[in-house]
Symmetry: C2
Subunit: 180 residues, 2 copies
C-alpha cells in the first residue's frame, strides 16, 4: 500500500474481528516495521512479544470488559520497555518515544496488510492491567508492557472515526499562531 | 512510495542538503501526515510550526554547532506541546506519545517525498535550546518545542546507519525471552 494511503486509512478500530487468524509471516512483517522505527541514540529500547497462542490469547482477551477488538483479537503485539529506562543521552531516556514510533510503524503495517488495531495504552495503567498482562507474557522483573495492540481482520471496513481539527487550527508557518 | 519501502529507507540524516528549497505543497503534505497520526483519546495535543522564512531559518541553523542537517536545513518542522499537558484519560496525558507518532508519520512522508531529516529531541533539552527555539518561533508561555525536524534534499543518498539488533534479539512469540 502506498504510504500516504496507509497513513490516511489507519484508524483506531474497536469492533469485531473475523475468525481468520493472523499469519506468522504477517506478524513478523508488522513487528519488523516496529524494529525499523527510529530510537533515541539508536537505543532500540522496546522489545516485543507477539501473542498467537490460544491459551495466552484467551487470557488477554478476558481482561478487557468493553473493547471488542481486544475481546476478539486474533493476535496481540505487546510493546515492552524497562520500568526504569537507563539514560541514553545525558540524563535522558527516550523509551516512551521509541515505543510510540515503533507502534505507529506497526499500525501502518497492520493497515497496509488488511488488518485493524487500536493503540491500547492508558488502560494498561489502570487496575494493574500492565502487570497482569506482563505476568501472562512472562515478563521479567523490571519490564513493563507499555502499549498493547490487538490484531485481526476487521469485520467492519467502515468504522466511525472522531473528527479532527483542521490544518489551520494546528499548523502555522514561521510563527506560532500566525495568520497565513 | 510503498509503505514498507518508506519504513526501511527512513534513516537519521545529519549530512549536507542540496540548495533547493522545500515547496510549501510538500511541507503541507508532510505535516498533514503528522496530523493524521493517532493521539491518545483523540486529544490532538501537538501543534506544528513550519519554518521556511530565511530569517527564521538562519536563526535556527545557527544554534547547532555540529549537525550539518540542522545547519543547512531548507525548512524545519517544530512539534510543539504544552509544558504541562492536561490529563486526557484518568490522570494521564499522552502528549509525548502523540508527538512521537506524529513525527514518525512525518519522517516517513519526508522519506517518500525524497527529502531526509533527523529527529532532534535530546538536544532541545540541553542549554535551554527548546526555549531559544521557542522564542524564535514566537511560542506563547506554556508551550514548548518537543521535537524539531530539519528538512531538505540530502546531498548524499547513501548515509551510514548504525547497526540494529536482529529480530530474534528483540521479539518473542507468546512468552518474553522464549526460544522459538
Amino acid at each position: 500500500m502506498e504510504l500516504f494511503e496507509a497513513i490516511v486509512r489507519r484508524h483506531s478500530y474497536r469492533g469485531a474481528y473475523l475468525p481468520q487468524p493472523v499469519s506468522r509471516e504477517d506478524l513478523r512483517k508488522i513487528v519488523q516495521a516496529g524494529l525499523d522505527a527510529p530510537s533515541g541514540c539508536n537505543g532500540q529500547t522496546p522489545t516485543f512479544v507477539i501473542v498467537d497462542d490460544e491459551t495466552v490469547l484467551s487470557g488477554l482477551r478476558a481482561l478487557h470488559t468493553r473493547n471488542k477488538a481486544v475481546q476478539q483479537a486474533r493476535a496481540f503485539i505487546a510493546c515492552v520497555i524497562d520500568k526504569e529506562p537507563e539514560a541514553v543521552f545525558e540524563r535522558f531516556n527516550f523509551a516512551v518515544e521509541d515505543c510510540a514510533a515503533a507502534v505507529e510503524n506497526m499500525l501502518l503495517a497492520i493497515t497496509a496488510l488488511g488488518y485493524a488495531s487500536v493503540w491500547i495504552d492508558g488502560w494498561l495503567r489502570l487496575e494493574n492491567h500492565a502487570e497482569t498482562v506482563g505476568r501472562l507474557l512472562g515478563l521479567p522483573e523490571g519490564k513493563i508492557v507499555r502499549i498493547l495492540l490487538p490484531v485481526g481482520i476487521p469485520e467492519r471496513t467502515e468504522w466511525p472515526t472522531p473528527p479532527k481539527k483542521a490544518f489551520e487550527e494546528r499548523v502555522w508557518f514561521n510563527r506560532y499562531g500566525a495568520a497565513e
